[in-house]
Amino acid sequence: MTGDLLGQNPRFESVPEVRELLNSVGYLADDGLSGVVYLADRLAKPVLVEGPAGTGKTELAKAVASMTGARLIRLQCYEGIDEAKALYEWNYKKQLLRIQVEKGSAAWEQLEENIFSEEFLLTRPLLEAIRSPEPVVLLIDEVDRVEIETEALLLEILSDYQVSIPELGTIEATQIPMVFLTSNNTRELSEALKRRCLFLHLDYPTVERERAIVLAKVPDISEQLADQVARIVRSLRSLDLKKHPSISETLDWARTLVILGIESVDEETARSTLHLLLKYRSDIEAAAKELSAATAASTAPAP
């Protein structure tokens, strides 16, 4: 709706186009993902991306930025972030200087009007994103790290693309940026925030997609090795581990195998390089045990 108000043209024509574009910048998307990106543009809504660590949440925002030729503005959230860090801040030093200079010469009312003008405003990522004249993609990273009270800061900008500054009034967006919020799901986000966003859950990819990712991202890897890598990683993810290997860890592993000149993974290689995939000792031990002892058909799941 807001998109229509501003008369902004949609960025994409169709879902397949989004997918093509994402592929062209090296982000292999499936239909669901590109569909959500497409809708985000059409409905002018932010996207809340959630999922386990290392499944390409942040990467998605970067990919969208580069495929639309937009600038990426990133707000890294952390505990204790506040208005001054996220939205805007008055440039006190400059204001003081101004007061010093005009001492005694101007009336206070006039001075006050002067020092609370845009000249003295320091924009922070959120304000910058909506004031920017050129297209931008706004990435609000790890939004689950901020306290629940601070979330409220985001609400106005996410739903109406505007920021209210008491001294200046409301600043409206010059263009609707695409907004991505990522969350590792360490806490439940507030209903108000979720309601304003499209929800996208990024899970570990299927074998086929992971193989394609490995092939795309790791130069000089043979198709057979990529396939094997993807399959072994899938097996590892089906185990009960403290932390499952992420896509980035899969890629690290694949790169290592290529550097070591390994054509085909056998147990010995797998065991000796497991520490690239798994980061806990107990996980590595469990995985090594599992991989070398096939459970055969005896433990197939009962119907």
Binding site: M1, V15, G35, L200, A294, P303
Partner: protein, 503 residues
């Protein structure tokens, strides 16, 4: 379309998903931008606008499959003429033509395809990973084995079970792996030529020899993935037929399941327990993060007089800035005493799991389990690598049967008091888990009273609904009078709330 959407949103709400009006409006807005005939596109559009938590995806998925299953022409199973035609289109090239027509029209009961043929097709489909063929097998198998009776208000679980039992998937899996092994050892697979005798690239171009365990493992995972695919196809097929039979709304009602955090411990099915077990991991992680954060936020301790005076010297002796001690919030010591007899076993398992998973929030956690005898199991948790494994081992290794293996709270508490009562101190919080159904044995409630004197807190968690307490052989009120709190704890949500309160 709007009618369907409203009905669908209503169904989601009835399943417990919080769908607001704005979200429903967004969903309607979203599907305007997508081609209506693309079912997958509609699905993710609805998913992105209506479902805001991955835990709710499953409920959404079921509801969606029910409400939007009949809308695609290729799914119109009951309509013979139509399905015959589209099936031929779909079948073209996939080489499953034989017997198709008969099988399809036999939805009512007439089956022309023999079980052997189905088994052969199934085997081939799984071996080659042929999607279209898997779908066909699923349809045939449901028609042949499910024995569906029109008009019955069921959700189809039993039909699924019946179909799967007849397909003997475990046997097929073993056979597939056996064949792969044989083909590698003898080269039989290579003779069969290009017909992909073993699944794709795992073994392609491999010289003869023995299957290494790693390869076997990978093969098995591949086959299992395909079998899961088949199971989903069968489920979808059964659902399609049920919708055709009774309509979407009625079926959705039978299929409605509580969300994982709302499932009752005492009446959970095996499948639900599995889902809950998956749900408990993110739950403990979240709880852990929240508790750690809470602890950090309790910044101010008592006034530190010395530090304030020292600091005041820089203001000429005026205590302008008060200094506070660093808070050292005490970590409670936890004793969990759990009844693990059949009726409440699931509840005890989840509670033990949760408490041990956040053990770092406590100075010490000790666990005791009982039925009519009692045994300490803390060391099992210490020795095991993961909590899941430990909980599993508790059930096997703990020595909890004294006479007959029927709950006897009185005796168990008595023994606890004799053996470990001295170790209960003023820092200890005791959590008793159980339904307090003691088979009319003596309650020995004085033990709880004594423990109450020694310990900081005594809590009782009861997995039964509050209205059942005190009925039959439940003696909860004997104990309740000496506890600091007795809580009804029927699902993960209530359990989580209690644990947070505890810390």
């Amino acid at each position: 379309m709007l009618d369907v959407l409203t009905g669908f949103v209503g169904e989601l709400r009835r399943s417990g998903l919080p769908v607001s009006v704005t979200e429903a409006a967004d969903a309607a807005d979203a599907i305007r931008h997508l081609p209506l005939e693309d079912r997958q596109a509609i699905k993710y559009a609805l998913g992105a606008t209506l479902v805001k938590s991955s835990a709710h995806w499953r409920a959404f998925d079921t509801a969606f499959e029910v409400y939007f299953s009949m809308r695609g022409p290729q799914y119109a199973v009951s309509d013979d003429a139509l399905s015959g035609q589209t099936d031929e289109d779909a079948a073209a090239g996939s080489g499953r033509g034989q017997g198709r027509g008969e099988g399809e029209s036999g939805a009512g009961g007439l089956e022309m395809v023999s079980p052997e043929e189905i088994a052969a097709m199934l085997y081939k489909a799984l071996r080659d990973g042929d999607q279209a063929m898997l779908g066909a097998v699923a349809r045939l198998a449901v028609g042949r084995y499910a024995g569906m009776e029109p008009g019955r208000p069921v959700g189809g679980t039993y039909y699924l079970y019946r179909t799967l039992r007849n397909l003997d998937l475990d046997g097929v899996l073993a056979k597939l792996i056996g064949e792969a092994r044989a083909s590698v050892e003898s080269g039989a697979g290579a003779d069969a030529g290009d017909e992909a005798p073993v699944p794709g690239p795992i073994l392609r171009g491999r010289e003869l020899g023995h299957l290494t365990p790693l390869e076997e493992r990978l093969l098995e995972d591949e086959y299992k993935a395909r079998i899961d695919e088949l199971r989903r196809e069968i489920e979808a097929e059964i659902r399609r037929r049920l919708v055709a039979d009774r309509g979407a709304e009625a079926l959705a009602k039978s299929l409605r399941k509580p969300l994982p955090e709302d499932v009752d411990f005492m009446h959970a099915t095996r499948e639900e327990l599995l889902v809950m077990r998956k749900a408990i991991q993110p739950l403990t992680r979240k709880l852990q993060a929240r508790l750690a954060r809470k602890r950090r936020h309790l910044r101010r301790g008592a006034l530190d007089f010395r530090a304030t005076m020292r600091h005041s010297l820089s203001y000429g002796g005026v205590p302008a800035e008060p200094r506070f001690r660093h808070p050292r919030p005490t970590k409670p010591e936890i004793f969990v005493i759990a009844d693990i007899s059949g009726s409440v076993a699931a509840f005890a398992r989840f509670t033990l799991h949760l408490v041990h998973a956040i053990a770092s929030q406590f100075s010490q956690v000790r666990s005791f389990v009982f039925i009519d005898g009692i045994d300490e199991v803390s060391q099992i948790f210490e020795r095991s690598e993961t909590v899941t494994e430990a909980v599993h081992r508790v059930n096997q290794e703990a020595d909890v049967v004294w006479v007959d293996g029927h709950s006897d709270y009185g005796h168990a508490l008595n023994v606890f008091y004799q053996r470990w009562g001295r170790e209960v101190g003023p820092k200890t919080s005791i959590i008793l888990l159980g339904d307090a159904r003691s088979n009319y044995h003596s309650p020995e409630a004085w033990v709880v009273k004594e423990l109450r004197h020694r310990a900081r807190h005594v809590y009782w968690l009861n997995p039964e609904p509050r209205s059942y307490w005190g009925s039959g052989d439940s003696i909860i009120e004997h104990y309740a009078q000496f506890c600091d709190g007795v809580y009804e704890c029927r699902n993960l949500r209530q359990l989580e709330a209690f644990v947070e309160h505890l810390v």
